[in-house]
Symmetry: C2
């Protein structure tokens, strides 16, 4: 069994809350600087002129130890006084921007307007919060997840996800900008130097697919000479969080662990599944453990097991 | 004596806190819609990408009844959580943007970016807050008060006023953009239709002069056929608030009521002075009353007296 300290270059693909939990565990198990996270920017949007990057911020706040303990997104003990005043102005308040969270969005927007790419902005925000893990947006280019729904037609991601609470029926997902989006600086280098690649238990279609839609990222993962593992976001046919199962069903995909294995196909070598799914029949190697992360200890334990597994695969 | 109800078209020039107090009194004494305020935008600035209009907002919040009761600027019971988070990011927090106040600045910046002029943005904000008084920025163009100081050289207005708490010695004031700035839509029409023009007890150099620097506004006031009154911002050689006396001295002006009268010259017909200055010798007509506005009642009383005086001048 390899010691985690031997692992120096781990890359993880992560969406929002679910992914951030494993990222948190991995960051705590690995030496400082050993972990690079490629974050999803497919749900970034402009809200009242502010550039909001929900998934990047969820990972960042989690790594900084300031994430809201219940929601998973946003900042602990944040208030919503700006939002309350927006309401007084008769404006929309469906997107729950906290006051402290707003500082991040104001700074990001300000720095982007000064000409910094999102990757540099993200690095600066993380550095200011004292985060040792490297967090890279998948791309500095616009690449927006767009949801075509039965009830409301085309919806911007946050319209679908937050405003309509992912209730509309999804007919099609389109990743606008994918044809031209290039990986952000550092992404390909990190993937090429990685000792292993981990796909976090995030929604495969909404959180991971946008990252894979950056063609060069998918190609780099396909061309890997190191293990790529995914942790299932589904246990016994139920999503750990959010609309994973609902959307897979609506899109005609098999909405269980085997469906996740199908979806990733040969992009992954191992699927980490819950003990409840120990009998699942999948083409990839199966690693069985308890994948629920209810507590901080759970996060560390699962991360530890994933890293041991990587060590074993290397030895 | 004319009844205030007979006055339908009063125009007042106002800066920030001091001016807003009289505006508040006037708005309460006059029929709804009878008052038009021309506000100072010389201290507007961009802060972290947000377009901040301190004087317009002070007047607006005062008229909406939500101004901070002690500071005079900002919103009552506002919090500073965004600012606290900015501090955590190692950023500057000398400009005290409250969380609720931020909603105004986010909306203003957003609407300006959509192409609305500042006057339309201001009208929309006021309308949403249920304000009957018309608040017009002096101009929709950039016109920035710049302060040349002995200690720090050239300072943007808020750098001088807030960051350095108006302590540096002023050598020269420059109103950048004045050559080309045009009055905002409605300003000249309001001045031309006015039954009287009131210059509020604001800093003549920092709050009123930027308004007068819009050439067409000064010319319209010069060409008036109705009374123009100023309420003195100085009592017994001391400023009611802020650096009025300090700056007048530093610029070699007489820093008392007579200095104010000199400064406005034939732009005004009457100077409203405090009882303490009843003996002052000025070329304009002098109207003596208690001009301190400590309470809401004081504001109403002074406004009432000013309006009666206007009625008397008309009769």
């Amino acid at each position: 069994m390899a010691l985690n300290g031997d692992l120096k270059r781990i890359v993880a693909l992560a969406g929002g809350v679910g992914g951030a939990k494993l990222i948190d565990g991995l960051a705590r198990c690995l030496p400082a600087g050993a972990l690079t996270v490629i974050g999803n920017t497919g749900d970034d949007f402009r809200h009242y002129g502010l550039h909001v990057s929900p998934d990047l911020d969820t990972v960042m706040y989690t790594l900084a130890g300031i994430a809201h303990p219940i929601n998973g997104w946003g900042i602990a003990e944040d208030t919503r006084h700006m939002l309350g005043m927006l309401a007084r102005y008769g404006e929309e308040t469906w997107f729950g921007l906290g006051d402290r969270d707003l500082a991040t969005n104001v700074l990001r927007t300000h720095w982007l307007a000064q000409g910094l790419p999102l990757s540099a902005v993200t690095a600066r925000l993380c550095q200011r919060l004292g985060i040792a893990t490297r967090l890279l947006p998948m791309t500095d280019d616009p690449l927006a997840t767009v949801v075509y729904t039965l009830e409301h037609g085309k919806l911007a991601f946050q319209e679908y996800f937050v405003r309509h609470r992912w209730q509309p029926t999804v007919q099609r997902l389109v990743y606008e900008g994918a044809e031209t989006a290039q990986p952000a600086a550092g992404v390909l280098e990190a993937l090429e130097a990685a000792e292993a690649i981990i796909i976090c238990p995030s929604n495969p279609l909404l959180s991971v697919e946008p990252i894979l839609q950056v063609r060069a990222i998918r190609e780099a993962i396909k061309a890997r000479r190191v293990p790529c593992l995914a942790v299932s976001p589904i246990i016994e046919g139920a999503a750990l969080k959010g609309p994973t199962v609902k959307i897979m069903r609506e899109l005609g995909l098999r909405a269980d662990v085997a469906g996740v294995a199908d979806y990733y196909g040969d992009l992954i070598d191992v699927l980490v599944v819950d003990e409840a799914d120990r009998e699942v029949d999948i083409p990839q190697r199966r690693f069985v453990t308890n994948i629920r992360m209810m507590t901080s200890t759970d996060r560390g334990r699962l991360a530890e097991q994933v890293l041991r597994l990587i060590g074993d695969l290397h030895s």
